[in-house]
């Protein structure tokens, strides 16, 4: 599936992996937390080789994963019992489990739902519970494997906000696998994959400056970036790699101002 991959994800970074279906991004995620083992080469997490069976538990403890389908990762019928699953597996004392459950629930802003039935929650809420379930394990890194793909726009916003908070406020390493450009924009670094290979790697500005490259692997760019790109193609001297609507507005304002000055 994957070939010629050489990636290093820094501690405390926020990385997005982009690519369309079947390009190997989920495989990469599963390799990262040791569910899949590489047939060639090696993957190491915090200096531990995933191929070594003895490290498996320690790696999983440090590297949590949130999956795509919220229904298929909730183990228990009641919210707090589900979140307690990971700390229970770690064999922690009851008080410590209680503390971690409450803390994780507060982090995802779901404290009021502790005693609710999991199947009655909305998609976004279920996914937040899944995040809390991973947080309760106390990982250094969380991988989101298309965690927003099955959610409605509101749910998606909630999850992206949670990811940002985990990274910026709690200093957690976040890796998000997605095909929503607007999510990738939030990251500090973007890795673009196609057919099992990395074709681009850099900051969002760098990546989205290469509109042709993204289009060649049938990926979109954010709407604003696309607009600026089309204007540039039509001969307007505008910069590339604009990601936010306000930046675009500023650039256009500047450009129009210059035009006026020239005429005057």
């Amino acid at each position: 599936m994957l070939s010629g991959l050489n990636v290093k994800i820094e501690k405390g970074s926020y990385t997005a992996i982009l690519g369309h279906n079947g390009c190997g991004k989920s495989t990469l995620a599963k390799l990262l937390c040791g569910i899949l083992l590489p047939t060639e080469g090696n993957v190491s997490v915090a200096g531990m080789d995933t191929a070594n069976e003895e490290n498996a538990f320690e790696i999983r403890k440090r590297c949590g994963m949130v999956f795509q389908n919220p229904d298929n990762q909730l183990v228990a019928s009641v919210v707090e019992e589900d979140i307690a699953f990971a700390p229970e597996n770690l064999g922690l004392a009851r008080d410590e489990i209680r503390r971690r459950v409450d803390e994780a629930l507060a982090t995802v802003d779901m404290s009021d739902y502790a005693r609710h039935a999991t199947h009655k929650l909305s998609g976004g809420q279920k996914q937040r519970i899944a995040i809390a379930g991973v947080l309760a394990m106390g990982p250094d890194c969380i991988i989101f494997d298309e965690a927003t793909a099955m959610l409605d726009p509101t749910g998606r916003k909630e999850i992206v906000a949670a990811m940002k908070r985990l990274n910026k406020e709690m200093g957690m390493t976040v890796v998000t696998i997605t095909h929503y450009m607007n999510e990738a924009v939030e990251a500090d670094r973007i890795i673009v994959m196609n057919q099992g290979e990395i074709i681009a790697d850099g900051t969002p500005e760098e990546i989205f400056s290469q509109v042709e490259v993204l289009h060649s692997v049938s990926l979109d760019v954010p709407q604003v970036t696309e607009l600026m790109f089309l204007l540039e193609q039509d001969g307007f001297p505008l910069p590339r790699g604009i990601l936010h609507a306000m930046d675009a507005a500023d650039e256009l304002e500047k450009f129009i101002g210059e035009q006026k000055n020239e005429r005057a």
Binding site: K30, F67, V78, E81, A84, P87, A117
Partner: protein, 281 residues
């Protein structure tokens, strides 16, 4: 289509039975089943009925729910009663003789006791276990009660885990089944007409997608569980610890006494009770 299933449903509440230790409740259920099956003479059956009424009273489960839980079994109950009524041979004069049908007084009695027994069993197990115990509490209790079996290599933890996951996925799979039914209906599948074989055949396009998706779900869930450091029951702790309160033991003791009492009451025949009463007056 699947809305009326009350089996395995939990109705949250705060009644005496809700607060009873689930382990005690399982033992109570066993005692209760023994009690119902043992009660044979009329006084004993009457006594066991009183006990069922007592359970209903302390469970705080609404009457409508009880009726709903018995509803799907009406056919089975009626069938058993009728068979017992017509096919029990008695020694006394038949009560009714018409063509090939003969009804003896023993037949009436067996039919009635059978009906009461079955009803009590359905209601009792519902009240004691499923309606008043959350699924997780229940599986936890089973795991703890069966713990001694670990010594002879029975996979108690795995069994309990499987059960709690199965219970967790019941609502999810019901929802999914309804979706599949709608999808197949949208493609003109017909589930309601034709004879029984035709209708059973119509279920195939529902069951196959359901199984496929259930297996896919299972695979994903296994990955998710591994990711959350699951490695079997070894070294696992629990968020909730079960506590048996003194009232639970009082409850248990009184039910045990009651069961023993039933054994003795069983020996008294109804006719003897009448004779006894006649003696007094």
């Amino acid at each position: 289509m699947l809305k009326d299933v009350t089996f395995g449903q939990y109705f949250p509440g705060n009644s005496l039975l809700h607060r009873t230790d689930p382990r005690i409740k399982i033992i109570l259920l066993i005692e209760y089943l023994v009690l119902v099956l043992v009660a044979e003479s009329l006084p004993a059956v009457a006594l066991s009925l009183c006990f069922t009424a007592f359970l209903i009273a302390v469970s705080g489960v609404r009457f409508g729910i009880l009726i709903k839980s018995v509803k799907p079994l009406i056919f089975v109950l009626a069938f058993t009663a009728v068979i017992n009524l017509f096919f029990t041979k008695g020694e006394s004069e038949p009560l009714l003789e018409w063509k090939f049908i003969t009804v003896y007084s023993e037949g009436v009695r067996t039919a009635v006791t059978m009906l009461i027994r079955l009803l009590s069993m359905v209601l009792g197990s519902g009240i004691l276990i499923s309606f008043t115990t959350s699924p997780l509490e229940l599986t936890d209790a089973i795991e703890r009660l069966l713990k001694p079996l670990k010594a002879i290599k029975v996979p108690v933890h795995e069994f309990a885990m499987m059960m709690s996951i199965a219970l967790r996925f019941i609502p999810t799979l019901i929802e999914e089944t309804n979706k599949i039914i709608s999808a197949q209906k949208a493609r003109c599948a017909d589930f309601e007409s034709g004879n029984i074989i035709k209708r059973l055949k119509a279920l195939v396009p529902i069951l196959i997608p359901l199984f496929v998706s259930a297996i896919r779900r299972a695979e994903e869930l296994a990955d998710a569980m591994e990711c959350r450091c699951y490695r079997g029951g070894e070294g696992r702790t629990k968020l909730k610890v079960m506590k048996t309160r003194p009232t639970d033991f009082v409850f248990l003791a009184s039910v045990t006494l009651f069961t023993v009492a039933i054994f003795f009451v069983n020996m008294i025949e109804f006719s003897e009770v009448i004779a006894f009463c006649a003696d007094i007056f």
